[in-house]
């Protein structure tokens, strides 16, 4: 497992404020676009990866050796079902609340904008960055020559609110993950994020 270097919360909070400043100038749409755009750029900067088998990949990702697990500890709950126990943004969110107070409402407005215009999967503005990063990084990982696919199932905000996909999507995603809805909710009691990682047959 790679060494975990802790960020300084002073920096984390200032990045949230940077996005708020962007929203002052360019509105919620600008906020969303910048958050998604920078996550895409970040993902394009990471090194590409190749694995021979699905098990090789699953071991690397759960041992923190893959670029996908650079910023979070990932657990495997079924062949294609994966969870993140602690949201990698939770410290930054806690520090923002501790130092500054209530989150600026623009974060929820941008989250709603993302959920309505991109995909209904974000529980907080940071999810936009995180999920975009995962989606783009997945494109840089190949398993037996096939690109990794990623799909978000559930994300839990610091308020406890869980973002879930529409019923029709949820059924397909849970089936692909090989877990029932009840098992999915049980996982979300213990974890902050539930998602699918797979390769097309």
């Amino acid at each position: 497992m790679a060494e975990n270097i802790e960020s300084n919360p002073f920096v984390d909070v200032s990045v949230f404020l940077f996005f708020e400043d962007i929203s002052d100038k360019q509105g919620v749409e600008g906020f969303t676009n910048y958050m998604v755009g920078q996550a895409e750029s970040l993902a394009k900067s990471v090194p590409e990866e190749e694995y021979q088998t699905w098990d090789d990949f699953a071991n690397a990702v759960t041992n923190g050796e893959s670029v996908l697990s650079s910023f979070e500890h990932i657990g495997q709950i079924s062949e294609y079902g994966f969870v993140t126990k602690v949201c990698p943004f939770s410290k930054a969110i806690r520090e923002y609340i501790k130092r500054i107070g209530n989150f600026n409402p623009v974060h929820m407005e941008a989250t709603d904008h993302y959920n309505h215009t991109i995909q209904p999967s974000a529980a907080h503005s940071a999810c936009m960055m995180h999920q975009t990063y995962r989606k783009e990084v997945a494109k840089r990982i190949k398993i037996a020559g096939k690109p990794l696919q990623y799909a978000q199932i559930a994300a839990k905000a610091y308020t406890g609110k869980i973002a879930l996909p529409p019923e029709s999507w949820k059924k397909v995603l849970l089936e692909k993950a090989g877990i029932t809805e009840t098992q999915g909710f049980m996982e979300m009691r213990e974890n902050s994020c539930l998602y699918l990682l797979y390769v097309e047959d």
């Binding site: 270097i5 960020s7 300084n8 984390d12 990045v15 940077f18 930054a92 940071a126 990063y133």
Partner: protein
Amino acid sequence: MMDIAIYSLVDDMVSKAGTEGVVEYWLRVGESYAERMGKEAYVGWPAFNVAMKDGRTSLTVEGAVSVQTDLAITDKDGDVIGYVYALKTCPISPTMERYISRIGPIPDSDTDVADSYNNRIRDSAVSNYCITHQKFREVAANNITVAKEALECLQLANKGMTGEVKMVPENLARINVDERHIKSILRNASCVFALIVKGKSAGEEIID
């Protein structure tokens, strides 16, 4: 993970708003961060310095700061008007290490933005993050009073990842501290600054 976003965000922003635009964004972030931390009042310098040492002031949210009690700044009458402080670890340093280890080299935009600030505003940034950090300190200091007098933060020196040092000679002159002394503090710190009573200086001059 939020902090890692800085580099790709700045890279994107430079392509859209230019280096000058990013400098303006960072200055506003530093200002609004400090304004939202609120005001503080201390009865005197000993109380303030204990709060700094304990990490209880808005200025110490950036990390552990050591108070250089041997560097009290006095005015022409010998009254203490401030002290020199040293920040042990630059707040962006862990982010840089993590970025280099997980992603790759720090993008050139980091230096481009810092250069834009150094050329146009003040030659005191060793990375793009220094812009918001130094602005934060300046505004936060204005919101603190010691013995009912507002403070002013003077950036003195800082050291970059590669060891590059930036000094602000006009601020060193204002508190009458020798550059070599500050360099010796920088051996075990990343950033050195002074907090003094607003408008005062070590000499007779009163700064508006």
